[in-house]
């Protein structure tokens, strides 16, 4: 009886739900693993920019009639490569320059989306691209997502040691023969792929939550990168699955009786999980005393890099 209250009728039989649940495993897993390094390396700004810029790819792909995933991936990889080329090092100049480029790309996206509504009489492209389409993913996009995700995970595993080395100390890494710039480029591209996957699920402008939310939460709970990656993946999957469930159940909720957007639930849940971890860390520190404040603080240093 409790089951029928928590799970509205037809939840497990619904095809869109089952597809969403599968996506809801692979995407958070990739985002959690890549995101852990994003937070460690303090590159959340780059990750957010990559995700937002994907809007142009999605809008372009939609205009041409292809699945937005290809647009996201295309833009993600190209921009990642360009970012490395211009060496996004100095923070002040980087912020303005990246912002300008993002503005131009978003402007162009607005134009493409406008063409989309006038030429194909569908108005949903804006929402699909910006806020995701977890329940509407179909066709070849699903296996493509899974395959890209698995490749991403493999690359993370392959690059784990050099990534860790370069994140801790680029001098040490160079001394050990690691090509820091190549690793940096590879990681940016990895982020590009990761945010394209999460853009399909929750959209380009909400995707940052999947990238840094679970990872930052995990890094508050554990210091070891391996366990952080797994924890981040777990938190992401939990938030996504719970979000899928809530969105399905919300179908008859007021006020519009057509369901609340799934990406809203996922993002809010990620935020709540982070707050919970934050609170528990703070409580733990208070109980044990200020010596314990070192827990997790090492990775916590301004991971967003925002002023």
């Amino acid at each position: 009886m409790l089951g029928s209250i928590v799970f509205e009728a037809g939840f497990f039989q619904n095809h869109a739900v089952r597809t969403a649940l599968i996506i809801g495993v692979i995407v958070p897993l990739v985002s959690g693993c890549v995101g852990t390094f994003t937070v460690i390396r303090g590159q959340a700004f780059a990750g957010e920019a990559l995700s937002d810029m994907g809007t142009l790819g999605g809008a372009g792909a939609d205009l041409v009639g292809v699945s937005p995933l290809w647009g996201f991936v295309g833009v993600g990889v190209v921009v990642a490569g360009t970012m490395e080329l211009f060496g996004v090092q100095r923070r002040r100049g980087r912020d303005v320059a990246t912002g300008i480029v993002l503005g131009a790309m978003l402007g162009l996206s607005a134009l493409f989306l406008y063409f989309d509504t006038t030429h194909s009489s569908t108005t949903g492209a804006t929402i699909t691209i910006l806020f995701g389409s977890l329940f509407q993913v179909s066709g070849v996009t699903v296996p493509a997502l899974v395959i890209l995700g698995l490749i991403g995970l493999l690359v993370v595993g392959f690059l784990y040691r050099p990534l860790l080395l370069t994140s801790l100390s680029s001098d040490l890494a160079t001394a050990r023969g690691v090509r820091v710039r190549s690793i940096g480029l590879a990681f940016l591209m990895l982020m590009g792929v990761s945010v394209s996957l999460s853009s399909v699920a929750v959209g380009t402008i909400l995707g940052t939550a999947l990238l840094i939310g679970p990872a930052a939460t995990a890094l508050k709970l554990t210091r070891r990168p391996w366990s952080a990656m797994l924890t981040a993946g777990g938190i992401g999957i939990a938030a996504t699955w719970l979000g899928i469930l809530l969105s399905y159940d919300s179908f008859y909720w007021p006020p519009a009786k057509k369901g609340w957007p799934v990406s809203f639930f996922v993002v809010t849940l990620i935020f709540l999980f982070y707050l919970a971890a934050d609170l528990s860390t703070w409580l733990r520190a208070r109980r044990v005393g200020s010596e314990a404040r070192g827990t997790g603080a090492r990775w916590d240093r301004d991971p967003v890099g925002a002023r």
Binding site: V39, A44, E48, R90, R91, R92, G93, R94, D95, V96, A97, G99, I100, V101, G103, A104, M105, L106, G107, L108, A110, L111, L113, Y114, T117, T123, G124, T126, I127, L130, F131, I205, L206, T208, A209, I212, G213, A216, P255, A256, K258, W260, P261, S263, F264, V267, T268, I270, F271, Y274, L275, D278, D300, D302, P303, V304, A306, R307
Partner: protein, 278 residues
């Protein structure tokens, strides 16, 4: 249409002025975060039938002050970034409850030429006047704390207070601008024209004036072009801001090559804060 021109002019002036300090202080994050949080306010306002400007204003102010408060406690981090994303999600939730879901999202995020109704022009003008007055009153402490915070502190400037006032100014700017330019693209007006101006001119007064001029040209051209082609105004604002920025940087680079000496772009604040204009 006259409404749009009037509002756009006010918006350009305020964005050009406030944007100068945004670029000086490197507050790109705030410039992105505040309009995006305000989006939820606009969505909520349209849902309950309240003035959009009011919804924008409330949420923008809360967001700006929230960022300031979190910043004071050393939390420029994940909490703020996640909170902004949740605000965006909230906005999409509010709009999903309305019947005009897709078009409303589009115009709130990318701008709408007819975005401000006639009876909101007065309110916009008032907000604009308040903003400019605030900048005039706060000019010296604001400038000093942007260029050299340590010297400002030594001179008795309450930099925390000034930071809060600056954030409120950004919130006011966002409130006025989002209906016309859109929540996602609003920041380009606060970044492009000022950065372009600073690449060309060193002295703050002249840079602000140039920034306002470029912003005015950007907005007027965008409205005219949008009106003629029916293409979204956000497209023109984003593109023209980028072009202005490129022109400014090219000018600075060309001047450096001609003079052959230390870059002119660093200018008067080089001694105090040797950072590039960006």
């Amino acid at each position: 249409m006259t409404t749009t021109w009037e509002v756009a002019t006010i918006v350009a002036v305020v964005a050009g002025v406030v944007g100068f300090f945004v670029v000086m202080r490197g507050s790109s994050f705030v410039a992105h975060a505040v309009p995006q949080s305000a989006f939820a306010g606009a969505a909520g306002a349209s849902l309950i039938g309240v003035s959009t400007i009011f919804g924008l204003g409330v949420f923008a102010l809360v967001a700006a002050l929230g960022i300031g408060w979190l910043g004071k406690r050393g939390r420029h981090d994940v909490v703020t970034a996640l909170a902004v994303v949740v605000m965006l999600g909230l906005g999409s939730l509010f709009l999903s409850w309305s019947t005009e879901y897709a078009p409303a999202i589009y115009s709130l995020l990318f701008g709408e030429v007819l975005g401000v109704s006639g009876n909101e022009v007065g309110l916009t003008a008032l907000l604009g006047a308040v903003s400019i007055a605030a900048v005039v009153v706060l000019y010296r402490p604001l400038l000093l704390s942007s260029v050299a915070p340590d010297i400002a502190e030594a001179k008795g400037v309450r930099t925390q207070r000034v930071e809060m006032m600056f954030l409120v100014l950004v919130a006011l700017t966002a409130t006025m601008s989002v209906p016309v330019v859109g929540a996602l693209l609003m920041f380009t007006l606060m970044v492009g024209p000022p950065a372009a101006a600073r690449s060309v001119v060193d002295r703050p007064g002249a840079a602000i004036a140039l920034s306002v001029a470029i912003a005015l040209l950007t907005v007027w051209a965008s409205i005219a072009a949008s009106y003629r082609t029916n293409w979204p105004i956000g497209f023109f604002v984003g593109t023209i801001s980028a072009v202005a920025y490129l022109v400014g940087r090219s000018w600075a680079w060309w001047r450096t090559r001609r003079v052959g000496d230390s870059p002119a772009i660093v200018g008067s604040d080089a001694a105090v804060r040797p950072v590039e204009v960006g």
